[in-house]
Structure formats: C-alpha cells, structure tokens
C-alpha cells in the first residue's frame, strides 16, 4: 500500500464517509467548472485569434441575463455545498451520550493519553472498534492540534480550555496521529499512532497493560491529598459546597447567574477559585495553580464526575460548553 501512488487517504471511521462525500461533490463541481471555463477560454482564444492587425471587433457591453445566471447558479451550488458540509459537521461534532471518554494532554512535544481505568500512553492511542470514543483534550503549554487523518477529524487543544471531539472507528488498523498546529521546534516530531482493535483484543490489551489505579481513584487520592475533602464534604457540612451530584447540573452563583458544572467550570474553580463563587459561600478557597498538573486536573474531574449519578446518563451537553463559551470571543 505504502509504495503505490496513493491518491485518497485511508478511511477508518464512520464520520469519514460524510467528509469524503462532501469532498467528492465539491471536486465534481470544481472539475466541471474548471474544465468548462478552460475549454471556453481555449476555444475563444483560438477561434477569435487576431487575423489581421487592423481588425476591431464589435464591442459587447454585457448582458444582465447572463450576469444573473452566473451569479445565481454558482450561488445555489455554493449553498448546497454549505448545507452538505454543515450537516456532516454537526453530526461529527456532537458525541453520542454513550461514548467512552479518553483524556488527552498535549505538551511540547508529545501527546499524553489517559484511559479512564488508569492506563496511560504516550503518542499511542489504543481504541476499540465500533465504539464511540470521545476525547477531552487540553494542553500544558502552547496550542497543539490533535489530528487523525484516517478519521478526518482534527481539533486544536488550547491552553486553559477543554476541547472535545469524537469518532467511532470502523476498521482495525494502525493510523497516523499528527500535531497539526505549529507548536515549536519539534512540531513534526509530535506524532504517533492510533491503534484500532477488535473489542476483545482491546480488552486484552487493557488488562495486559500495566495499570495502577483508575483515573477516578487517582482523582480521589489527589482530592484527599490536596485537602479538597476537608471543605467539600459529601454531606454538605463543610465550608465549601458539596460536590456530590454537582457535575452536569446548573450551579447558582453569586450575583444571581448560573453555570452548568462542566469540565471547564471545575478546572476554573480549582485554578481560579474566585472567578465564580457559588451562591451562599465566601471567597475562601486558595488557588491550586502550580500544585496540580493538567493530568491531575483531569483525574480530579473524573472523580467529581463519578460522584454524580446523572453523569453516566447524560454526559453530552457538559463538554460542549467550554467550546461554546470561549468561542464567542
């Protein structure tokens, strides 16, 4: 395969077909117009070449009918491309509720991947076949971009924010993983592989990998070690609000506003506690900036999620929020 002249990338996810369909549709329209116009130009150039040095062709001022035709037809074609692209984009954007979650942290110049059960990988990502997988991603330093060409997906990871994307692989194999956003000296070395495995192989791989604690457990340990548990008590008797059943719910803030407790909200509350104060509580919590890594944060979030019963059922809306909130800027 590798040695032959490849014109089309491998396709290994259910989302890829829609992208390719759009690509081929636009390609078809483009080729039609490119060939048509080129032929017209060639034909005119030859047919109406100058035959005598003195000839003066009759002037043609223009034609409103023609102008309208070649404005409206391309416009309609363009709109059809817009609709086609947007439909696929929306479908490829919203992860299904039952998607399994992986956590990605970019760092100059490597990708760190955490599985919920605690397995960690660097520059390699193992995923099961035919299961929706949602990636929750951030970065420790500059902007990177998580790009898997075979799945036709890509999303920037932005410092201070969580971005998400999802896919459902439908072909076993080993696929490229690239960093697509320029991130410094070893940008082109920030690459790796995505391994799509049969469900059974995946389970075997998971259990075979060296595994300490799950992300939840690691998060719980951090939660206790950093002293969070002394204030955020389960029975709401502490100085801070309880975190049981908080994730995915609306939280009332001082000043009357409310915010949905999602990954971005928890991250902000840990690093910049003062920016959103829960109604009825004082500004007491110190910042944990510098005391907790991006990976640790994801573990704590994972733990707080596990405290919330509703999460397993309806996970989807929460992770859209960070993108939506910041995007308006």
């Amino acid at each position: 395969m590798a040695n032959e002249l490849q014109l089309f990338p491998e396709s290994a996810s259910i989302g890829a077909a829609g992208v390719d369909a759009n690509y081929l549709y636009i390609l078809g329209v483009s080729v039609f117009f490119a060939v048509g116009i080129s032929l017209a130009i060639f034909y005119f150039a030859l047919r109406y070449r100058r035959k005598s040095p003195g000839e003066i062709p009759k002037p043609i001022h223009g034609s409103l009918a023609l102008e309208l035709t070649w404005t409206i037809i391309p416009f309609l074609l363009a709109m059809s491309m817009f609709v086609g692209g947007t439909v696929v984009f929306f479908r490829n954007y919203h992860a299904p509720a039952n998607a399994m979650e992986l956590f990605i942290v970019g760092k100059q110049w490597m990708w760190k991947i955490q599985h919920p059960n605690g397995v960690r990988e660097i520059n390699e990502m193992h995923v099961p076949l035919n299961r929706p997988v949602k990636l929750i991603m951030t970065t420790e330093d500059v902007i990177h971009s998580y790009f898997i060409p075979a799945f036709r997906i890509k999303r920037d990871v932005v410092p201070g924010q969580y971005t998400t994307m999802w896919f459902q692989a439908n072909k076993v194999g080993k696929y490229h993983l690239f960093c697509a956003e320029y991130c410094g000296t070893q940008h082109s070395g920030m690459i790796g592989w995505v391994h799509v495995m049969e469900e059974a192989d995946y389970e075997a791989w998971l259990s075979g990998s060296i595994r300490g604690e799950t992300m939840q457990q690691a998060g719980e340990r951090l939660f206790n070690r950093l002293g969070c548990a002394t204030c955020h008590k389960a029975d709401n008797s502490g100085r801070g609000p309880t975190l049981v059943d908080v994730f995915g719910r609306a939280v009332k803030l001082q000043g009357g506003t409310a915010v949905v407790a999602d990954e971005a909200y928890i991250r902000e509350s840990v690093l910049k506690p003062a920016s959103k104060i829960v109604s009825g509580y004082a500004v007491e919590m110190p910042t944990f900036q510098g005391q907790i890594s991006e990976e640790g944060l994801l573990q704590v979030i994972s733990y707080i999620k596990s405290l919330s019963k509703s999460v397993q059922a309806a996970d989807a809306p929460a992770s859209e929020a960070p993108a939506g909130k910041k995007g308006g800027n």
Binding site: K272, P273, A274, S275, V283, Q289, N329
Partner: protein, 222 residues
C-alpha cells in the same frame, strides 16, 4: 481620442504653499482634508481593536475589572479630562484664527493647546509612577492582591496599552503643534490657506475623543 487638451489653467495660484500636483488651492484643501478623515478612519480601527479586546475581557471577567478599576485615581482622571477638553477649545480657537488669517492668534492658541497637552502628560506620568509604586504594572512584580490578582493583570495591561497609545498620540500631537507654531510664527496662514491647521485640529480633537471614551471605560465603570 480618449482625451483632448483642456485649456491649460497655467495660472497656478501664487501661494507659496500651493503644491504642483493640484489644479488649484481648493482641490488641495479638499484633498488634504479628505486625507485626514481617511487617516482618522484608520485610527478608529487602530484603537478599535483595543476597545474590542477590552470589551471581550470585560465580559469574561467583570469582577476582576471592577476590582482593578478601583485602583485608578478618579480625581486625576477627571482633572485630565477637563484639561483635555480645555485644550480642544484652544485648538478650535486656533483653527478659527487660521481661517481668518491671524497668525499671531494661531501661534498663541497653539501654544496654549501645547501647554495643556503637557499638563495632561505630566499628570499621566504621576499616575503611571503611582502604578509602579503600588505594583500594579503587569508582569512578575504585579501584586494587586485579592482574589482577582491574575485577571487584574489583563485589566492593567489594557490600561497601559490604551492610555499609553493615547499618550503616544498626544506626544506626536505635541510635536506637530511645535511645527505648526513655527509655521504660524512665519505668517504661513491666510484666508485662502489654513488647511493644515484644520487638519491638526481634526487630529487633536480625535485624540481628545478617544480619551472621552477611555476615561469612563477605565476609571468610572466599576
């Protein structure tokens, strides 16, 4: 033929300030004035991008903005606003004198404008040094304290960028004022040539108006 000779208006105006590329002083006047307005459009977008960034962060961190803006000296800001409005008045009077061809008046009012501009800049120096003293300059030494210490750095970065850029415009304006004072001293302006002073006025008023926006945005809204 696409063109034919127009009877040449070879009688170019005798005014020494007339530039050869124009047909007459009227065209020169309307071109330079129009040019100044286009320049101000450019300036609006130049400042506009800062206003835009200010607004974005204000909506993201209203509390931090509020907390940080309490560290500005409203009294000095008000004083400066009055000074600047006063300088706009003297500038307008200078333009009036130029239109009437009174070069002495132009000189005097430009001098007054220049002095008021310097008062403004002097007060700005006091304010800036105050910020340095209280560790309110963003960077490693920033120490506003309180819960919004980090985000307040954005506020003060905006503060220094916006007022700094405004002050830079004032300094350039002051330099131009000296140039035009020298011109007025040499009796350059007359009833048929006063465009440069008008354009100087447009620039000066524009810089004032920027301050009229900056003052409430930075000092007053909490």
């Amino acid at each position: 033929m696409s063109s034919q000779a127009l009877e040449q208006s070879s009688a170019h105006p005798a005014n020494p300030n007339f530039q050869h590329q124009y047909e007459d002083l009227q065209q020169q006047y309307s071109s330079t004035t129009f040019g100044m307005w286009v320049f101000l459009v450019q300036e609006i977008l130049f400042f506009g991008s800062l206003f835009c960034a200010y607004a974005v962060y204000r909506s993201m961190y209203p509390e931090a903005y509020s907390a940080a803006s309490h560290h500005l000296n409203v009294a000095l800001g008000t004083f400066n606003t009055v000074v600047l409005i006063g300088s706009s008045l003297t500038m307008a009077l200078a333009v009036r004198c130029a239109q009437l061809g009174r070069n002495k008046g132009v000189f005097g009012y430009l001098l007054a404008t220049f002095m008021l501009g310097n008062v403004f800049l002097g007060v700005k120096v006091v304010e800036y040094s105050d910020k340095f003293k209280h560790h309110l300059v963003p960077g490693p030494n920033f120490a506003m304290g309180g819960p919004y210490n980090e985000q307040a750095q954005i506020y003060f970065s905006m503060y220094f960028a916006m007022t700094g850029l405004h002050a830079l415009h004032m300094i350039i304006g002051a330099g131009l004022l000296i140039f035009f004072m020298w011109k007025a001293y040499n009796n350059t302006y007359s009833t048929d040539f006063y465009g440069p002073i008008e354009n100087m006025g447009l620039y000066w008023h524009f810089v004032d108006i920027v301050w009229i926006f900056l003052f409430p945005m930075l000092y007053l809204i909490h």
